[in-house]
Symmetry: C2
Subunit: 144 residues, 2 copies
DNA sequence: TGACGATCGTCAGGCTCTCTGACGAAAATG
DNA sequence: CATTTTCGTCAGAGAGCCTGACGATCGTCA
């Protein structure tokens, strides 16, 4: 519903471009069974594992949906669920070796793309962009 | 697949926030039968109507998906299809009165949100943000 | 003018994603 | 302990999106 680009829509293009680049690279690296929905949940998994409920909240989907996607990731060997030592009800979703390999590829592409963007915008402008977006996150991201 | 926020992910938060605000406002205004997928297609409709194929390309979905969503929008009275006077094969998807009312609400919310963001970031930083994002679009948006 | 490939849009079928609702198990509360 | 909250799952349904195939129309070139 927009003809003239507003700030929100302008934000959308880089995000979509990065996501596209990451999934293209993953497919090229042989990880061609990953879907975008799975990736958005997997992207929230922390170093020491993350609870399903937390993944659902951060990805803004229901627990059921997050559980469904984690099931798929688990079946494909990217993550596993381990009991949470601090809470008998909960389990922590952790990356497997294969999952960490995916993360490594994604990180590499992120760095590549950022380098390209920096080359296009210039160092100073990129720094300002990152700073503005980081501050904007304070009022647009309910999670941290 | 990211722990430390990269530029692409940082772009995602404002976009998601704006989209959420717009749909909340639309629902509050009585337009509660619109879905996000419909909105993403409708957002690409130009002043004088736009072809289905073009909507599909810009929203990055298949023609079939775009046609399915336009069917829904048409049934709900938001758009209509008129013959393209310059091409007998094509039809132009145009907003109806009801559709234009939705656009008006969306525009108002966009302005509100941008004002809030400007208040948070400051005039100068916002201007720099918009300029950087606009230039970034040159390398991240295949469409214009 | 007529034949050919390209483009516009649709139909059919199936898979993925996401939701609402309800539920047992374990933890926190008091 | 009894109650309430939180964690995760099961079941069912619907929306979204895709691939493949198709008829109709356009543009081009012989």
């Amino acid at each position: 519903m927009a003809a003239e680009p507003n700030l929100g829509l302008l934000c959308f293009y880089p995000y979509r471009a990065l996501e596209g680049r990451i999934f293209a690279a993953l497919a090229a690296a042989g990880f061609d069974d990953l879907t975008v929905a799975q990736g958005r949940v997997a992207a929230r998994i922390g170093e020491h594992g993350t609870r399903l409920t937390e993944l659902a909240e951060q990805a803004q989907v229901t627990k059921q949906t997050a559980g469904f996607l984690v099931d798929q990731l688990e079946r494909a060997g990217y993550v596993r669920r381990v009991p949470d030592p601090t809470d008998g009800r909960a389990r922590l979703v952790c990356f497997t070796e294969r999952g960490l390999a995916v993360v490594a590829v994604a990180r590499r592409v992120e760095a590549e793309v950022e380098a390209e963007w920096t080359a296009h915008l210039g160092e100073e402008s990129t720094r300002a962009l990152r700073e503005a977006l980081t501050r904007l996150r304070e009022v647009t991201d309910p999670w941290r």
